[in-house]
Amino acid sequence: MSSSSNIVAMKKIVQQLRLEAGVNRVKVSQAAADLQQFCLQHAQHDPLLTGMSSSNNPFRPQKVCSFL
């Protein structure tokens, strides 16, 4: 690889790092609080968390008919 293409590649890396350095960062405590709040707000609508009755369960095993 020629040295000028090395320089071109390196310039791209620098450009990318400049872009990533410019990100506005939120405090971890704020981010964590927001994630928690989302989980708690949506907990009631999370069937894997709340469970479900067998009549509401789309994957429940097929009922077998039996003669009484």
Binding site: M10, K11, E20, V28, A32, D34, H45, L48, N57
Partner: protein
């Protein structure tokens, strides 16, 4: 020559400076740990899901599965050279799609339910119309120079692919041509996930990095490090503000996009198997992670604790997925079976 060396040295110095700047900026906002602030949150307790269906049909290792947007149909891909489309409510197979190449690694369902896509060691993403009388090849997307590890449809006219050639790509399905190529990873791309608002996507690669991309401009907006081996699986937290990764280093991590860093890790000294797949429950509270140890372990995403396990497969769990309505989890394995749990 000397001038070029001087320029190169200056660029390297700028690089190092920028990396240090990014680390310092991340540290500056790192004012508390996620697990500490989750101290006040009630524990979820032991999560015990039951096996509801065992789907038999494939004759070889299952490598990938994807739920349809209707939360009822699901497509699976196996190296027996077939895609199977299942009605998960009845356990019936609706359609079988024979593949030109049996070495499949990825499968995707279009949101419309009309199309599925698959690809693997053939380097090609093949899109099939499954609503035709018999499955018909719609397009062969052939431009990657490495294996196809993952694909996700934006619509019936656009799809994003991830490849072992280290790039991801946005394709126009009407022309079959590449619209945008996403280059920045320095290792095979293994997995991708679309953001809930579909303006961005995330990719995980063998360079142990996760990257956030703007779909339209093609730019890499953020890069997340911390894993010490290949990232095999990646998913968005449902709010769109965080991502979960699973790696060959036997851990999962959550990175917050707004804090631009890892906020919690999910690892256990007793777990010495690589993570192959990740999926989240609808509230984001539960992480379902498939491992090489034949199990799918369940993590409390806020507290970082293991809260359950889905056991039953006789080989590596290769893929995991939760449908849009959140009513269950599907695991697929090298043992050739798919299991549904809730």
């Amino acid at each position: 020559m000397a001038a070029e060396k001087a320029e190169m040295d200056a660029l390297k110095k700028e690089c190092d400076g920028l990396r240090a700047q990014i680390e310092a900026a991340r540290k500056a906002v790192n004012d508390g740990s996620m697990s500490a602030s989750a101290g006040g949150v009630e524990a979820v307790g032991r999560v015990q899901l039951k096996l509801r269906k065992n789907l038999k049909g494939h004759l070889a290792k299952i490598y990938a599965m994807h739920w349809s947007a209707d939360s009822r149909q699901m497509v699976s891909a196996s190296q027996d050279g077939k895609l199977l489309i299942w009605d998960t409510f009845t356990g019936n197979k609706l359609t079988a799609v024979p593949l030109k190449s049996a070495w499949v690694m990825s499968v995707a369902f279009a949101p419309s339910g009309n199309l599925v896509a698959s690809g693997g060691l053939d380097n090609i993403c093949t899109v099939y119309n499954i609503k035709a009388a018999s499955p018909k090849t719609l397009r062969e997307l052939d431009a990657h120079t490495g294996y196809l590890s993952c694909s996700r449809f934006l619509s019936d006219s656009e799809i994003i692919t991830a490849s072992g050639d280290t790039t991801c790509c946005l394709w126009d399905l009407e022309t079959g041509k590449q619209k945008v190529v996403f280059t920045n990873h320095i290792g095979d791309c293994m997995s991708l996930a679309l953001s809930p608002d579909e303006n961005s996507f995330i990719s995980g690669a063998c360079d142990s990095l996760a990257k956030l991309w703007d779909i339209r401009s093609g730019t890499c907006k953020q890069t997340f490090s911390g894993h010490t081996s290949d990232i095999n699986a990646i998913a968005f937290f449902p709010s769109g503000n965080a991502i979960i990764t699973g790696s060959d280093d036997c851990s999962c991590k959550m990175y917050d996009l707004r804090a631009d860093q890892e906020v919690i890790g999910y690892q256990d000294t007793s777990l010495n198997a690589g993570v192959t797949s990740v999926a989240l429950s609808n509230s984001g509270r539960l992480i379902f992670a498939g491992y090489d140890d034949f199990n799918c372990h369940i993590w409390d995403s806020l507290k970082g604790e293991k809260v359950g396990v889905l056991s039953g497969h006789d080989n590596r769990v290769s893929c995991t997925g939760v449908p849009a309505d959140g009513m269950g989890v599907c695991t697929g394995s090298w043992d050739s079976f798919l299991k549904l749990w809730n």
